[in-house]
Symmetry: C2
Subunit: 776 residues, 2 copies
C-alpha cells in the first residue's frame, strides 16, 4: 500500500464510525428500565386523571413491560441463533464449493485464488452477521426504552427523548455496519496486496480484486437469509397474528392474549433491522467490489496507485463523516418537540446528509488521475489521443475527477429523488393513497384494483431517474461510473440505516406500550413516532431498490468486462442472449411466487398454532383472570422454522440459476439472465413495495377517521375499514417479503456470476457445456 492519504481517510472514517456507534449505544443504555423517576409517576402526573387515585398506576405496567421486553429479546435471540447456525453452515459449505470451483481458472488450477476468494466470502458473511446481530440487539434493547421515554415530562421533552432513543439506536447499526464494513474490506485488500503485486499491472490487480469480490458474495449471501428468511418470518407472524384474530373470533392484533404477538414484534426487527441491514451491507460490499474489479481492468487506473484504486472506499468514508457531522442536527440542534416535528426532522436529516456529501466528495475525486482509459487494452495516451476518440468511446475519460463527481452526485441525488417519489406514492398526505382509501367505498375489490394500479404507476419516475443516472454514469465513466453512482446512492448509508431502524424500534415501542397497558398518552406518542417511521421506511425501501439495481448493473458490467469474449459488447438479439433475457425477466416472477406462497403457508401454520393454544390453555381466549400465559416461544419457533425452511427454494433459485446457466449455456446467456432479472426485477420490486405501502397507509387513513363517504366519516370496524384491511393484508407480503427480496435476487445472481466467472470461462471458452452462443 503506497500512498497514505486514502488509507488515512478510510481508517479514520472506520474508527470514527465505530466510536460514534459506541457513543450512541451508551446514550441509549443510559436509560434505565427500572428508574424510579418514571415508575413512581402518578396518574395525574401523566394527565390521565381518570386512571385512578394519586398512587402510581405504573408499577404493574412496568412489570409487564419488562416481561414483554425480555420475551422479545429472547425471541430475537432464538431467531438469530437458528438463522446464524444455518448461515454458518451455508458459509462453510458454499465456501468449500467456491474454493474448488474458483480454483479452476481457464489456465488450470490455482488453489491460492480459490482459497482467498473463499476466505473473503467467509469474512464478508461473518462481518454481515456481526453487524446484523448488533443491529437486532440494539433495536430490541432500545424498544422498551423508547416507550419509557414517552413518560418524560414536560411533554416536549418526552418527544425529544423518545425520538432520540429510537434514532440513536438506529445510528448504532448504521455507523457500526458501515464502519466495520469498510474496515474489513480495507484489511482484506491490504493483506491480499501482499500476495498480488498491483504494481505489476492489471493482471495481478484483477486477481486481487476477484478474490476480494468474495466479500460481496459473502455479504449478499447473508442478506439472502436476512431479507428472504427475515421477510417470510416477519410476515408469517404478522399475517398469522392478524388472521388468527379473525378466525378465532375477534381477538385484536396486538392483544396480549394472542400468542403470536411477540413473534410479530420480533418479526418487525427481523425484517426491517436485520433484513434491511444485511441487504444494504451487501449492496455496499458489492458496489465496492464491482468498482474495484472494473477498475482493475484499467492500466491507467491501476498504474495511478492506491489512492486512485481505493477511491470507491474513500467515497464511503466521506459518507460516514458527512452523516456523522449532520446527525447532531436531528438529536440536538433541531430536536423533536412535538408530533409535527418528527417527519420533518427525519427528512431534513436525509436531505442534509445528501447535501453535505455532495460538497465533501469533490476533493476526494482528486485522488483519481486527470485522464483515464477504462478499457482493458491500452492507455489514455494511445487510445484517446484525439478529441474524436474521446467523444467516440465512453471508455475515454478526459476529466476523471469531474466525471467521478458527476457519477457520485447523480447517484446521491437520484436516490434522494427516488426516496421522495416513493413517499409521494405511499404517504396518505398525498392524493394517490387518498384515492386508494376512497376506493374502499365500493369494497375490497376496487381497493385492490386501485392499489395495484398505484403500484404500477409508481414505477414511472423512479425508473426514469434510474435510467438517467445509468445513462449519465455510463456515458461519462463507462461501467465504472455505474458502480460509483451506486456508491453515491449508498453514501448516506449511516443516515439511511438510522432512519430505517428507527421505524421498527418505534413500532415495537408502541406494541410494548399497548401490551403493558401503559396510559393512552404513551401509545399516542409511539403511534406518531411510528407513523413517521412508516413513511421514512418507504423512502428507505426506494433507496434499497434503486441502489440494488445500480449494484446489479455494475456487477453485470464487471462480469461482462471480465469475460473477454464479450469485449465487443453483448448483442441483445443474439440467439442465446435474447432467450436468456426472457428467462431472466421471468425469474423475479418465479421468485415472488415462491416467497408469497411461503408467507401464506407459514401464516396458516401460525393460525393453527394460535387456535390450538386457545383450545388447550384454559381461560386464555376468555381472558379470565389468572389464566395460563400464552406460549409465545412456540409461535416464535413456528415463524423461525418456517422462514428458514421456506427460504430454501427461493434461495436455491437465485444461486443456482446463474451457475446452471453459465455451466450449460455459457457467459453470454449469463449476461442475458442477469440483465433480464434486473430489468423486470426493478419494476416488480418498486410496484410491490409501493402498492403494499399505499394499502397500509390507506388503512391508517381510514382508521384516523379521515375518509368521508357521502359526508359520513368512516371508522375502524366499518365496511370501508374492512375493505382497507384486505388491501393491507395483501400488501404485507408484497411490501415486506417478495418486493424487497427481489433486491437480493438482482444482486446475488450478479455477484455469484462474477465470482464464478473464471469457472464459466473454463468450459468451452465460456460457451458452456452445450457449446452455444457464438459471439453474435
Amino acid at each position: 500500500m503506497g500512498e497514505f492519504a486514502s488509507s488515512a481517510l478510510i481508517l479514520a472514517a472506520a474508527a470514527a464510525a465505530v466510536a460514534f456507534a459506541a457513543f450512541l449505544w451508551r446514550a441509549v443504555a443510559a436509560i434505565s428500565l427500572d428508574s424510579p423517576k418514571y415508575r413512581t409517576l402518578s396518574a395525574s402526573d401523566l394527565g390521565d386523571p381518570e386512571n385512578g387515585s394519586g398512587v402510581s398506576p405504573l408499577e404493574a405496567s412496568f412489570g409487564k413491560l419488562r416481561t414483554i421486553y425480555a420475551d422479545i429479546q429472547a425471541g430475537a435471540r432464538a431467531f438469530l441463533k437458528a438463522e446464524y447456525i444455518m448461515c454458518t453452515a451455508f458459509l462453510a459449505a458454499f465456501g468449500a464449493f467456491l474454493f474448488v470451483l474458483v480454483s479452476r481458472l481457464e489456465s488450470g488450477w490455482d488453489y491460492k485464488v480459490g482459497f482467498l476468494t473463499a476466505l473473503s466470502f467467509v469474512v464478508g458473511g461473518v462481518t454481515s452477521m456481526v453487524a446484523g446481530y448488533l443491529g437486532m440487539m440494539v433495536a430490541v434493547f432500545a424498544n422498551a426504552r423508547t416507550t419509557i421515554c414517552c413518560l418524560e415530562r414536560p411533554e416536549s421533552r418526552a418527544w425529544t427523548a423518545s425520538f432520540n432513543t429510537a434514532f440513536r439506536a438506529g445510528g448504532v447499526m448504521g455507523y457500526a455496519l458501515t464502519g466495520v464494513g469498510i474496515l474489513t474490506l480495507y484489511a482484506l485488500i491490504t493483506v491480499y496486496a501482499q500476495i498480488f503485486d498491483v504494481s505489476m499491472g492489471t493482471e495481478q490487480a484483477l486477481l486481487l480484486f476477484e478474490c476480494v469480490a468474495g466479500f460481496g458474495l459473502g455479504g449478499s449471501s447473508i442478506a439472502l437469509f436476512g431479507r428472504v428468511g427475515g421477510g417470510i418470518y416477519t410476515k408469517a407472524a404478522d399475517v398469522g397474528a392478524d388472521l388468527a384474530g379473525k378466525v378465532c373470533a375477534g381477538i385484536p392484533e396486538d392483544d396480549p392474549r394472542n400468542p403470536a404477538t411477540i413473534a410479530d414484534n420480533v418479526g418487525d426487527n427481523v425484517g426491517d433491522v436485520a433484513g434491511m441491514g444485511s441487504d444494504l451491507f451487501g449492496s455496499l460490499g458489492e458496489a465496492t467490489c464491482a468498482a474495484l474489479v472494473i477498475a482493475a481492468q484499467s492500466q491507467d487506473l491501476v498504474g495511478a496507485g492506491w489512492n486512485a484504486i481505493l477511491f470507491p472506499l474513500s467515497v464511503t468514508a466521506v459518507g460516514i463523516f458527512c452523516s456523522l457531522a449532520v446527525s447532531f442536527v436531528a438529536t440536538d440542534l433541531m430536536p423533536v418537540r412535538r408530533e409535527a416535528d418528527v417527519e420533518r426532522v427525519l427528512k431534513t436529516q436525509l436531505f442534509l446528509s445528501t447535501a453535505a456529501m455532495t460538497a465533501a466528495v469533490y476533493p476526494v475525486t482528486l485522488f483519481l488521475p486527470a485522464n483515464l482509459y477504462m478499457g482493458s487494452e491500452g492507455t489514455f495516451a494511445n487510445m484517446c489521443a484525439t478529441p474524436e476518440a474521446v467523444a467516440a468511446s465512453s471508455d475515454c475519460v478526459a476529466n476523471a475527477p469531474l466525471a467521478a463527481f458527476a457519477c457520485v452526485a447523480a447517484g446521491l441525488w437520484g436516490g434522494c429523488l427516488i426516496g421522495f417519489i416513493t413517499e409521494y406514492y405511499t404517504s396518505h398526505s398525498y392524493r394517490p393513497v387518498r384515492e386508494v382509501a376512497a376506493s374502499t367505498e365500493t369494497g375490497a375489490a376496487t381497493n385492490i384494483i386501485y392499489g395495484l394500479a398505484l403500484g404500477y404507476k409508481s414505477t414511472i419516475v423512479p425508473v426514469g431517474v434510474l435510467a438517467s443516472v445509468i445513462y449519465v454514469a455510463t456515458r461519462y465513466f463507462s461501467m465504472y461510473g455505474v458502480a460509483l453512482a451506486a456508491l453515491g446512492m449508498l453514501g448516506t448509508l449511516p443516515t439511511c440505516l438510522s432512519i430505517d431502524v428507527y421505524g421498527p424500534v418505534c413500532d415495537n415501542a408502541g406494541g410494548i406500550a399497548e401490551m403493558s397497558e401503559l396510559p393512552e398518552s404513551v401509545r399516542d406518542k409511539t403511534d406518531a413516532l411510528d407513523a413517521a417511521g412508516n413513511t421514512t421506511a418507504a423512502i428507505g425501501k426506494g433507496f434499497a431498490i434503486g441502489s440494488a439495481a445500480l449494484v446489479s448493473l455494475a456487477l453485470t458490467a464487471a462480469f461482462v468486462t471480465r469475460t473477454g469474449v464479450l469485449s465487443g459488447g453483448v448483442n441483445m438479439l443474439a440467439p442465446t442472449v435474447f432467450a436468456s433475457l426472457l428467462v431472466g425477466s421471468m425469474l423475479p416472477y418465479w421468485f415472488s411466487a415462491l416467497t408469497m406462497k411461503s408467507v401464506g403457508l407459514a401464516a396458516m401454520e401460525m393460525v393453527k398454532e394460535v387456535k390450538r393454544q386457545f383450545d388447550t390453555i384454559p381461560g386464555l381466549l376468555e381472558g379470565t383472570p389468572g389464566h395460563g400465559p400464552p406460549d409465545h416461544a412456540r409461535c416464535i419457533k413456528i415463524s423461525t422454522d418456517a422462514s428458514l425452511r421456506e427460504m430454501v427454494a427461493p434461495g436455491l433459485l437465485v444461486i443456482l440459476s446463474p451457475i446452471v446457466t453459465g455451466t450449460l449455456f455459457g457467459v453470454q446467456s449469463v449476461a442475458g439472465l442477469l440483465a433480464g432479472g434486473l430489468l423486470s426485477g426493478v419494476q416488480l420490486a418498486i410496484s410491490a413495495s409501493n402498492t403494499g405501502g399505499a394499502w397500509d397507509n390507506a388503512k391508517k387513513y381510514v382508521e384516523k377517521g379521515c375518509l368521508l363517504v357521502g359526508g359520513v366519516v368512516q371508522r375502524k370496524g366499518g365496511e370501508c375499514h374492512k375493505a382497507a384491511v384486505v388491501g393491507d393484508t395483501v400488501g404485507d407480503p408484497l411490501k415486506d417479503t417478495s418486493g424487497p427480496a427481489l433486491n437480493i435476487l438482482m444482486k446475488l445472481m450478479a455477484i455469484v456470476s462474477l465470482v464464478m466467472c473464471d469457472f464459466f470461462m473454463g468450459i468451452n471458452e465460456g460457451r458452456g457445456f452445450f457449446n452455444v452462443g457464438a459471439p453474435n
Copy 2:
C-alpha cells in the same frame, strides 16, 4: 409476379376461407328465431313439468328473447359505429402523418414511398375493421340462436345443435378474417410490385415491403381500439353491473332489472370478439410484414423469386386449408352429444389443426431455395463457403426448407404447449385453481395473495417455451426464423378464432336464456357450453400473448436489421441501450396502471347511472309488474364513451413512446425500448391473464359447491364465496383489459418503429436529435 405456385396457393386459400365463412354463416342463419317448432313446445316436452300446464310456456319467453336479442344487436352496432368513426378519423389523421414523415427518407423526400405506406396503412386498418364488424355481427346474430338450439329434442341433438351454432359463428370470423387478410396483403404486394421491381435486387424489395409494412401498422392500430377500448368497455360494463348490484341493495348481476346487463352482454362481444379478432389480425399482418421486410434484406432470398418471397403468406394459406379440413371433426364427425364432450371436442380441434398443419407445411417449405444467406451484404456462396462459416453465423442457413420447417413447427407446438399450460393454471380441474379456491377459507386477502402468486408462477413454463422457440428460430434461421415461428403459432388462427368467438357467443346465449326466463334446462346447457368456453378462452389468451411476443421480436429484429448502424448487433450495455431497456420495461406497468384505472373510473360512472335509473324509474328496483323499462341505451353509451375516452392516454403512450424516443435519442434507444417493453410485457401479460382467469374459475368452483371447509360444502353467498367474488372482480380488468392490451403495446410500438425507421435514420444518422448513442 413470376411464379405461379405460391400465388395459386394463396389465392385458393383465401377463396376457400371466404367461401367457407359464407357457408358457415348460412348454416347459422338457417335457424329461425321464430320457428314454431320451439315456440310451441310444452313444459313437459322440456322435462320441466312443474313449470305449469301442457300449454307452451315459451311464448312469453320468446318475446323477451327477441327484444333482448335486438337490444344487444343495437348496442353492438352503437358501439361499433362510435368506435369506427373514431377509427376512421384516426386512420385518416395518422395516415396523413405517416405520409409526411415516411416520405422523408435518409436520402431526401420521396412522396411515393410515403403515399404507398399510408395507403397500406389505411387498407390494413379498413380490412381489420371489416373483419371485426363481421365477427361482431355474426356473434350477436348467433347468440340467441344458440340459446334456442338448446331446446332441440332429444337432449343429445340440443347439445350438438347449440354447440355447432356457436362454433360455426366463431368460424365465420375465423375464416373471413384470415382469408380477407391474406387476400388484401397479396393484392397490395401485387400492385406495389408493379412499382418496385424486385428483380432489380434487395433495395427495391426493401422499399416495396417497407411500404407494405404499413398494412401491419394499420391492422395493429385498429387492434389498439379493439383491445384497449374494447377491454375498457367490457370491464366497465361487467364491473359496473356487478358493483351496481352490490351498491343498490342486492340485484343479481344478470337480473333483467339491472340496466347495465345489456351493456355487459354487448361487452363480451366487444372484448372477446372484436378485441381478440383485431389483436390476432394485427399479429398475422405484422408477422407477415416482419418476415417480408427481413427477407427483403437477403440477396439470396429475393433472388430466388416470388415463390420464396411469398413463403410467409403460403404458411398462412396452408393453415387455412388445415383448419378447414379438420373443422368438420367438431361439427360432424365427432359431434358434441353431452356436457362432457364440449371441452374435449374443442381441445381435439386445436390439437388436430396443429398436427395437420405440421404435416402439411413441409412441402411448402420447398418454395425456399436450399441455401440462403440472410445478412444484408453478400450471398451464401461468398459468405458461407466453409462449414466453419456456416456454424459461426446464424445468417448462414444451409438447409433452408428444413430450417424453415423447424421454425414453423416450433411456433406451432410452442403455441399449443403454452395454451395447454395456461389451461392448467386457469381451469378448476387442476390443483392451482383449487388451491386458490381453498384459500378463500381465510378470506379475500389470502385469496388475492394466492391468486397473485399463481399468476407469477404461471409465467415459468410459457416463458421457458417462448425462450426455447426463440432460441431455435434465431439459431437456425436468424431473425427470419422468429417471424416464421410467429406465423407458425398463428397458423391455426381460423381454429383458434372459432374457439375464441365460441366463448362469448355461449356467454351471451346464457345471459339471454336467463333474462328471457327460459326453462332451467336451457340455462344449464348454456352454462356448460360457456364453462368450456372459459377454459378455451384462457388457451386463446395464451396463444395471443405468445404470438404477440414473437411478432414483437420479429418486428424489432426487422427494425434493427433495417437500421444499418446496428448491423454489428445491439450492445445491451451501451449507455443509451440499457437506459432505454429499463424505461421500456417500465412501459407495460405504466400502460397497465392507465388501463386498470380507466376500468375503475368507467365502472364508477356506470354504477352512478344505474343508481340514477333505480331512483328515477318508478317500480324498477322493486320489480313491480308493469314498471318502466330500464334505459339500456344510456348504459351502453356510458361504456362506449368511457372506453373511447379512456383509451386515448394509453394509446398515445404506445404510439408516442417509440416516436419520441427515436426522434430524440436515436435508433439504438428505440431498439432498447422495444426489447424492454417486450421482456417485461410478456411476463406481466401472462401473469395478469392467468391470475384473472384463475380467480374467475375459483369463484365458479365455489359456486358449483365443490369447495369443502372442515367437511362443510361452501355455497354461493357464503363467506368463502364472497371472498372468491372479490378475487373475480379484481381479476376482471387484469384478464380482460390490462393483460391482453399489453399484446398491443408490444406489437404496436415495434411496428410503429419499423415504419418510422427511415425517418429516425434521417436525424443525425439515427442518433436522434440529441445526437447520442454512438455504436458502443
